[in-house]
Amino acid sequence: MATTTSHQRGRAQVTSSGVEVVQPRHTRSTILTYTGVVLICLWGLLPFYWMIVTSFRDVGFTFDTTPWPTHVTLDNYTTAFSTARGNHFGRALVNSLVIAIATTVIGIVVGVFAAYALARLEFRGKFYVLGLILGASMFPGVALVTPLFQLFTDIGWLNTYQALIIPDISFVLPLTVYTLTAFFTEMPWELEESARMDGCTPGQAFRKVILPLAAPGIFTTAILAFTAAWNEFLLASQLGGDKVQPVTVAIASFAGAQPHQEPYTAVMAAGTIVTVPLIVLVLVFQRRIVSGLTAGGVKS
């Protein structure tokens, strides 16, 4: 990609006539590129923008279609956090944080070990380990619902944090192992060898040399894992209860002022609160996230 020069871009747009006039084509190509860029940006941002705009609109003007905020109010944010209608959004936010952080930490710690072995060591059955982890990432989450529901009922775990965290690991772990393995293979391992030559044990070499070098990759993987855990809905909606409900489930079941009335503006406010921190992460670390996504994690 870096080798693409603007000159080549100009020539890439060969017209049907086949006449080689570089300059006009160059311009047309640039216009085409920027039109595409603008359209793609609008694709990604418009619905999100609409959520934010709506979240600031007075309930009475829910369906106002003015493209900018009108009848601005913060009421929806108060409503989102209000427990008067039996919604527990505030608690759900805390629950989501607890679940996503615990899942991420476990997924990363366990994943780092496995990824190190996969990237760095030669051993029999490596192919099968890769296959198993890959198979796990393809696994339909719904197949876990019935047995886990029964198991957790039997041992009294329904509506507990561990009942949500442990299954979450099943989809975060394959993601972390793959992404970290991809990062680890790219690392300058000569440094580890020098450390070993200087008398470090493998453990010391790993802690003192490799881990600091791997920090960016680990951090990126942590963002991916956190996002995946933060997004989880299916298992949480079945294995959790009011006490440990994460935000995804809480928002999906937001109650309005009257039964069967959808509190659109409050839902948009809650959605904005849940999404904006993630968007900020994406904005700040977009380069890293893209490299992490394309390195190993294909699960959305």
Partner: protein, 338 residues
């Protein structure tokens, strides 16, 4: 991948003798193999607990009758061995009185509808996402200022949790919502007929086409520019270059992306559940399993086993016949080895 690590291990093992306190004679695979086992064990144990155990228990349950009232005697019965009756319930819609005995409206009668709509979503959404993703990727592959903005805005749909995406599109598709207003229509997007199916496909495509674009872009970036130059010298047009160079060279990355999106869509739950709640025959297989959990675990187990087999079969077909080389693509260094 194994070759690159093999070299590394060799050097690694050579560094061992002076550091080994017990003076064990190191061999190329011995020490690292044991260490690898220790390092990988936690992952395997965790995956076994959260995936293998549920699978085994689901499969064994699927051959057990659900406890409940016996329709003949009216007595509560404890279940027992069911043979394949749970599978007959779904596949033949046999609720106990032979094929097609499940009354319309019951969960038993919905299997084939759910299968059909799940495959419909998968086929249409993944096709749209692939085509759009390819177009997006080609645009993003060009050089221009403000690439960071583009990349960030492309990541926005990916970062929004699916449950919130569903709520957002539920609002957009509301009767008085912006979609109907812009289109000048009065469609009940979450009601009956084809509209709810389109609503789900549109929302899913919005969320994942950019993601697909990123994966395809990664594939595009490893293509050598020289190949295009050579083709241009030989007089190949833009379309010819796309068909004969870009497509074949990006195919490995593309196939893996398509495979994973296909598997994701086949197990889709959040989006249709929240967006339409199954209105207009939009209940997917996953939704059907969850609905069934409340009325009978063992029948639900059979259904989730069927879902699992379907997903497995599709993955198998992709890997075996359509050339999605998953291990090589996803295993590190594969790109560099090419």
């Amino acid at each position: 991948m194994s070759s690159t690590s093999g070299v590394a291990t060799g050097e690694f093992a050579q560094g061992r003798p002076p550091l080994n306190p017990r003076g064990r004679r190191p061999s190329l695979h011995d020490g690292s193999g044991r260490r690898a086992t220790l390092l990988i064990a936690p992952t395997i144990v965790l995956l076994a607990v959260v995936i293998l155990y549920p699978v085994v228990s689901a499969v064994s349950q699927s051959f057990t009758k659900d406890a409940g009232l016996d329709p003949n005697t009216g007595m509560f019965v404890e279940g027992g061995f069911a043979g394949v009756s749970n599978y007959k319930l779904w596949l033949l819609q046999d609720c106990g009185g032979g094929a097609f005995s499940c009354p319309p409206g019951t969960l038993g009668s919905q299997f084939w509808t759910a299968t059909g709509v799940t495959f419909l979503f998968t086929a249409v959404a993944v096709t749209l996402e692939t085509v759009l993703g390819m177009v997006f990727a080609l645009v993003m592959h060009r050089k221009f200022k403000g690439r960071a903005i583009l990349r960030a805005s492309v990541l926005v749909p990916w970062a929004i949790p699916t449950a919130i995406t569903a709520k957002l599109w539920y609002f957009i598709f509301a009767y008085d919502g912006i979609a109907n207003r812009l289109l000048g229509t009065e469609i009940l997007w979450t009601g009956d007929g084809w509209a709810p199916k389109f609503a789900i496909i549109i929302a899913d495509t919005w969320k994942t086409a950019p993601f697909m674009a990123l994966l395809i872009l990664a594939g595009l970036q490893v293509i050598d520019e020289g190949v295009y130059e050579a083709a241009k010298m030989d007089g190949a047009g833009a379309w010819q270059r796309f068909v004969h160079i870009t497509l074949p060279l990006v195919k490995p990355a593309l196939m893996v992306a398509v495979l994973f999106r296909t598997l994701d869509t086949l197990r889709m739950y959040d989006l249709p559940k929240i967006l339409t709640g199954g209105a207009g025959d939009t209940s997917t297989l996953s939704m059907l399993v969850v609905d069934q959990v409340r009325s009978g675990f063992n029948a639900a187990s059979a259904l989730s086993t069927i879902t699992f087999l379907i997903v497995f079969l599709v993955a198998f077909i992709f890997i075996k016949f359509l050339g999605a080389n998953v291990t090589e693509q996803r295993a590190p260094k594969a790109k560099k080895a090419v």
